[in-house]
Symmetry: C2
Subunit: 134 residues, 2 copies
DNA sequence: TTCCAATATTAGAATAGCTCTAAAATTCGT
DNA sequence: ACGAATTTTAGAGCTATTCTAATATTGGAA
């Protein structure tokens, strides 16, 4: 998926220079970058000044459009993810690195992620509707 | 666990009037309140002025001491939880209400929480260490 | 008991993350 | 080309939290 113009059009987002470099940066990134990291990494690539507002606007637009996911891992800023498949995340508590974990791996029961991951603990957040009183 | 003085002492936190009303408020609350909700609910109960800094200081102290848990559910402010057992959370997307879900219920495989909960989706965050490259 | 040192609390300033505002620039159909 | 609609911009504003530095409270030694 290398052509950003097509990528944006596919999601019905008008391609602009700002949007293309921002989307490109997130797609290239495996690290679930924050808005500020995106701003830092992208500002120099543009001939004109880039506003933080544009970064936030663009990221919100792309999340709305389903082109990116916004992910809240702990406290701190939102992070952005070009992996829009159903997946969860594994955070290495030593390095802070974030790994994508396919949803199937989790359904197949939690701590069987493979030898590379030692799980200290995990937290699950459900979203839905409840009939419970309180 | 009604005596806050004992509650704080058990966790090696010096009992002060501010700490007692703050801890009491969180213990009484089932709703995972934010620092600001705690501040609002507690300020009037004290004969002296209460500073927001004291609320944050106290909550951080109690989390450090293991007397409370700090929980990040979505974006927005941290929430505080007197349930220090191993548990997860269920958020009703209609009402925003937060329910405690015992960790055993989750281990016993995800969407079997009982009839009262209709799960739209859920996200799992693992914390641990990985050997994976990137 | 009165000190004193340690700790806790305070109001407000500072910082971080994000959104809003209103003006300027760009785009695009005509 | 023109004008309406959209996008971008700089900076102000807002929310959540921490920091600062001064004041108040505590609890143990003298
Ligand atoms: Mn957002
Ligand atoms: Mn905290
Ligand atoms: Zn991801
Ligand atoms: Zn809870």
């Amino acid at each position: 998926m290398e052509n950003m113009e097509k990528f944006l059009q596919k999601h019905n987002v008008k391609p602009t220079p700002q949007r293309m470099v921002i989307a490109q940066f997130v797609v290239n990134s495996k690290s679930h970058p924050t808005a500020d990291q995106i701003f830092q990494g992208v500002a120099e690539q543009l001939p004109v000044a880039l506003s933080r507002a544009t970064v936030y606007n663009t990221l919100n637009t792309l999340v709305q459009a389903g082109a990116l996911k916004e992910v809240y891992l702990e406290s701190g800023p939102a992070r952005y993810d070009a992996n829009i498949n159903d997946h969860h995340h594994f955070i290495d508590v030593k390095t802070g690195k974030v790994f994508d974990i396919d949803a199937d791996k989790v359904k197949a029961l939690a701590p069987e992620l493979g030898a590379g991951f030692k799980v200290h603990h995990y937290s699950v957040t459900f979203f839905g509707e409840s009939k419970a009183a309180d």
